[in-house]
């Protein structure tokens, strides 16, 4: 079955630095990917998405990169702020009915 994993379970960065969170996926049929942010005690919130026909997509302070060759996804956060501290999940779907989530990376932003 599908598996979605993260390289680093915890990431600590200095406020103002850029953050990079990585994700690996195993299903080559997946054609849509999402990054979610989950703050303590809350449900996941959508950050940014990317389709398999793209390799880069930018949002406000966030960029998602997709490398289909090695089945790798990354989330880049520019000028990381204390409010960015949360757990970040990547999710993939091959059919839009089911989304498969990674185990999450906890981002700690040090003031």
């Amino acid at each position: 079955g599908e598996s979605v994993g993260l390289h680093l379970p915890t990431l600590s960065v200095q406020e103002g630095d850029n953050s990079i969170i990585n994700c690996a996926y195993s299903n080559s049929a997946s054609d849509y990917f999402i990054w979610y942010k989950q703050e303590s005690g809350k449900g996941p919130q959508f950050i940014i998405d990317i389709r398999s026909n793209m390799d880069k997509r930018q949002g406000q302070r966030v960029t998602v990169l997709l490398n289909k060759t090695v089945k790798h996804l990354s989330l880049q956060i520019a000028a990381t702020q204390p409010g960015d501290s949360a757990v970040y999940f990547c999710a993939e779907t091959p059919n839009f009915n089911k989304f498969y989530f990674g185990s999450g990376t906890k981002l700690n932003v040090k003031p």
Partner: protein, 116 residues
């Protein structure tokens, strides 16, 4: 606009007891999902529904039942709770456009369930 609302927020059960978690969405979404989240793991899909009156199994459906009698509500039932079902449960919904899901899942705030 409340979005996705889950009740209750917390619950403690004894082994063998039954309960129902309620999820309600006011966004007219067709698709609804139930996930569980365990420490150190990602969200795992329990059951989902692509429309009123229809349900389907996800990755970890055993021990759970669901019903979607109304479009806005998706119920998750535990007939005989087990300690392995201690988890945080999240409901989510999404809206398909032209037969393809509007991929953004909107999540509720979760239900913390402990089974003793």
């Amino acid at each position: 606009n409340a979005g996705v609302t889950q009740t209750p927020k917390f619950r403690v059960l004894k082994t063998g007891q039954s309960m129902t978690l309620l999820c309600a969405q006011d966004m007219n979404h067709e698709y609804m999902y139930w996930y569980r989240q365990d420490p150190g793991m990602g969200l795992r899909l329990i059951h989902y529904s692509v429309g009123e009156g229809t349900t389907a199994k996800g990755e970890v459906p055993d021990g759970y039942n669901v019903s979607r009698l109304k479009k806005q509500n998706f119920l998750l039932g535990l007939e005989s709770a087990a300690p392995s079902q201690t988890s945080v449960y999240f409901c989510a919904s999404s809206y398909p456009i032209g037969g393809v899901t509007n991929e953004k899942l909107f999540f509720g705030s979760g239900t913390q369930l402990s089974v003793l």
